[in-house]
Point group: C2
């Protein structure tokens, strides 16, 4: 059975049925804002680290599969409704196509003479995901349709969000201004960041409370508001905050209209957090005024509004999309082969290099099988991965090497993982995986081989992220080597420590204690 | 709007619609095997502690609500199918009723002239949940229907089960023997416990692999096997193991048939873990034989088979159900009032006391809003709760007081929580909630007032679970008192420590670090 094909000219894989054997996903973003997106637009977004800074909610191992969160769109046409990406509405489409490209995904679906295409991408140097939606009337009569958007906010820490309901059902906070829904949970108490979901057009309605939009016992496949063709204009207060817009779209035969949705992330300096705070007199000298609905403070939206203004027009979006394509064309042009076998060419010139870059960006911290909760970036993994992309982005490879070496411990060992948000070693898993530091040697070597830049050996690099312990990179490599030589067993062989780079060689793979870690329990490995 | 009524004679609350404002749940079990069950049979089961020993999988904060796991039944009748408890199939029923009683729940639903009643309860002194299913033909023609059962196994640790897919999708193991499906994930490596789901009748088919039963993109509301009226006879190997039986039932007009399903939990001593192990010669001297399908060891099923044999007949189940009713009648007869107000009588004589007993059993460790993952039993909570049930079960109240005091720290402070599986203090949250030990004084006092049993003051009780630190209970109370007196601030007032018993008085409720604990961050409270 065939589920799609390669479009080499566009560097895309084209999926022709929504029901692939498993969800087939792509990654968006290559700097700080990242997203997982399936061929029906399932998945989620996060800023730098998928555990502490999850932006949208996703349910792993869900039933039905891949119906636990995404950027969902619903078309409503005179009582009928459907999703242009098939899911979540799962109404039969007259046509469906998903194109996973280099850092973007396009999904197109039509029904009832309405063709809808959504392009999802994260522009360069931008902390947000753009959803460009084109709705076209392919029939011969005028149409009045409605377009509903939907995303569900994660209350930031993905682990806490999925377990601590006693607290989390009471904390959700939003603001709505114009066509923008802001998610500001915990911004008042201890966060300097919020998220937003905007559209560059007037809205006929909105929802920010999940239950109002979905209905108490409803599902993503048939939200109450979509079934009724009418938003609830709900303002979330606790429970599960979401963001949904409703647009009314009139289309002449053959006419198409574009809309730009932005799912963005903003950090504000502490002194610029608020536009207005409760207790501040307003222009009329009143302490509690219309400025403070429900007595809440008003967040400073300046940075969000700048982000939204940047992509106010389709032209600006198209230009950013072209810029992204050029970025990838350039990256992939650094090393190419032409062989007689188109499959070899395709793999070497496009997909393997793309995969390596995704691995650079995310290591193995988040996928549809890695929940993004259990781990950070691997010390061993990231040093290994570097071998695959050092020729594409030598500058960022150099930075990554220094980040990694900065988490190394003074005795030459290493934290097994580090968190991308803090760039610090992960205490939870700790160190003592004795092969880890060896990979740093290989990474530095391959960087020098590729670039000829020996100066990296002189870079003063901290141990354990402590500047006062900094030493030249060459010293890090030496201590890595010594760490192996100085940790031999009675037969003169290097000790494994907790686990070997072969993931099956965990010393504690059998124990009598259920729940004991396979990797981090300290046992005698002499 | 009315969703049900009290049936005081039967000590039941009767729910007359499946779509209550939120799922209305009951608790089963009062010793070691516990279950949460909603009015449509959603929920889950666990042994002693809902985090490390979760038996069935449940998805909290699911969309649709309460459709993330339960004991699901499906009736199949000539192409049509439905669930007798409405969910998960959500086909319209001709009648529906749920009775939440004292430690049991009965759900009855009919459609197409088939009336099905399921009684769910955990018998006394039994580590399992009994589902007695009665299927009755209320029509005038002979019927041939099929009954599908369904539960989804949790891979034991609920936290790990919902995050560590890289590992967990590879570990699931089952055995099927006759009409019993055994869940034995990690039994080989490090567990001495397994679970099973049985039925006391020959089966026409079974499934133990979720994807085979549900379909890749299917949902609980229309599993592929049920839609087809045909089990897949799948043997799970990794991914998501489940247990589903298919029974073929022929019913004359007016005829009813009973079936007994048991969801059980078994612990085996290490030396009795296996019936047969790979490498052991069989009767013919062969090392790899038909005894070892897929080369796996065969678990020792003796204890499971004894549990199943105990309730092989409807009569045995009915007797155990009567025993449970008598147990509750006796508990609730210890303290009764008769006032002119039936609502006061109902609340004092039935529901408040029932609630107090549930709180004794589970403290606040698991509900539809407390995921069972984040915490154990509270030191403060459990001492407080005791005031409500000490008159009903003074012996177990005494045991609970001693368990709690055994986790007290030598300096008089206390772990804020303890895990029921180990009865040890929870290191993750630690102590330093300075009001905690005071509640021990109140608990011991109320026990003595109720029973006159001053001997509890002489019971040698460990500190920090260390027998060598044991001292009489009176000493624990004294140290509790001194702990307050010796921890005063500059104004002579007791220091709060990390948080006060008023849950809103957390000293760290504002901080600049997102993700910092509200309760356990150590800050200067002087």
């Amino acid at each position: 059975m065939k589920f799609g094909y390669f479009d080499d000219a566009n560097k895309e894989y084209v999926i022709t049925t929504p029901e692939t054997p498993y969800p087939w996903i792509n990654y968006l973003g290559s700097q700080a804002f990242f997203s997982l997106i399936s061929n029906t637009a399932g998945g989620y977004s996060f800023y730098k680290d998928a555990k502490p800074r999850r932006i949208t909610r996703f349910r792993y191992n869900n039933v039905p599969l891949d119906l636990g969160g995404g950027r969902y769109f619903y078309l409503y046409d005179d009582g009928d409704f459907w999703s242009p990406g098939y899911a979540p509405a799962k109404k039969e489409l007259d046509s469906y196509e998903c194109r996973h490209g280099m850092g973007y995904t396009k999904i197109k679906g039509s029904r009832n003479g309405i063709e809808t295409e959504v392009t999802f991408f994260v522009p360069q140097d931008y902390n947000g995901e753009v959803h460009k939606v084109t709705v076209k009337n392919t029939g011969s009569a005028k149409k009045n349709v409605k377009l509903f958007s939907f995303i569900e906010w994660c209350l930031w820490n993905a682990q806490d969000d999925s377990t601590n309901f006693q607290r989390n059902f009471s904390t959700g906070e939003v603001e709505i201004k114009g066509s923008v829904i802001y998610h500001k949970t915990e911004y008042k108490e201890r966060r300097d960041h919020y998220a937003f979901y905007s559209v560059n057009a007037p809205i006929a309605g909105f929802d920010s409370d999940r239950e109002t939009f979905i209905g108490t016992y409803g599902g993503f496949e048939s939200p109450k508001a979509v079934v009724a063709g009418q938003s609830g204009n709900s303002v979330a207060d606790g429970w599960s905050p979401i963001a949904s817009h409703c647009l009314e779209i009139a289309l002449e035969p053959g006419e198409a209209k574009d809309f730009v949705f932005i799912l963005g992330y903003v950090e504000n300096p502490v002194e610029e957090k608020w536009e207005w705070q409760v207790g501040t007199p307003d222009d009329n000298g009143l302490l509690m005024s219309a400025k403070a609905p429900n007595g809440t403070n008003i967040i400073n939206k300046k940075r969000a509004e700048e982000m939204i203004a940047k992509f106010a027009t389709t032209e600006a979006v198209d230009a950013a999309f072209e810029e992204l394509k050029e970025y990838w064309d350039k990256l992939l042009s650094k090393y190419t082969v032409q062989t007689a076998d188109e499959k070899v060419n395709r793999m070497v010139n496009i997909w393997n290099q793309y995969q390596c870059m995704v691995t650079f960006n995310l290591s193995r911290s988040a996928s549809y099988f890695e929940s993004g909760i259990g781990r950070g970036m691997g010390f061993r993994d990231s040093n290994q991965d570097l071998l695959g992309f050092v020729h594409q982005i030598p500058d960022r490879a150099r930075e990554r090497i220094i980040d990694l070496a900065s988490t190394q411990l003074p005795e030459g060992g290493a934290y097994h993982q580090y968190q991308t948000l803090t760039k610090k070693g992960n205490d939870e898993i700790g160190g003592n995986f004795n092969d880890d530091p060896l990979w740093l040697i290989l990474a530095v070597t391959s960087y020098i081989k590729e670039t000829g830049d020996y100066s990296i050996l002189d870079v003063m690099t901290p141990y354990d992220n402590k500047d006062e312990l900094a030493a030249p990179m060459a010293d890090h490599i030496k201590r890595s080597f010594d760490h192996v030589i100085n940790n031999l067993g009675p037969h003169g062989l290097p000790l494994i420590g907790r686990a070997d780079w072969n993931d099956c060689l965990n010393l504690n793979c059998f124990s009598t204690e259920s729940g004991e870690s396979f990797q981090t329990v300290t046992i005698n490995d002499g």
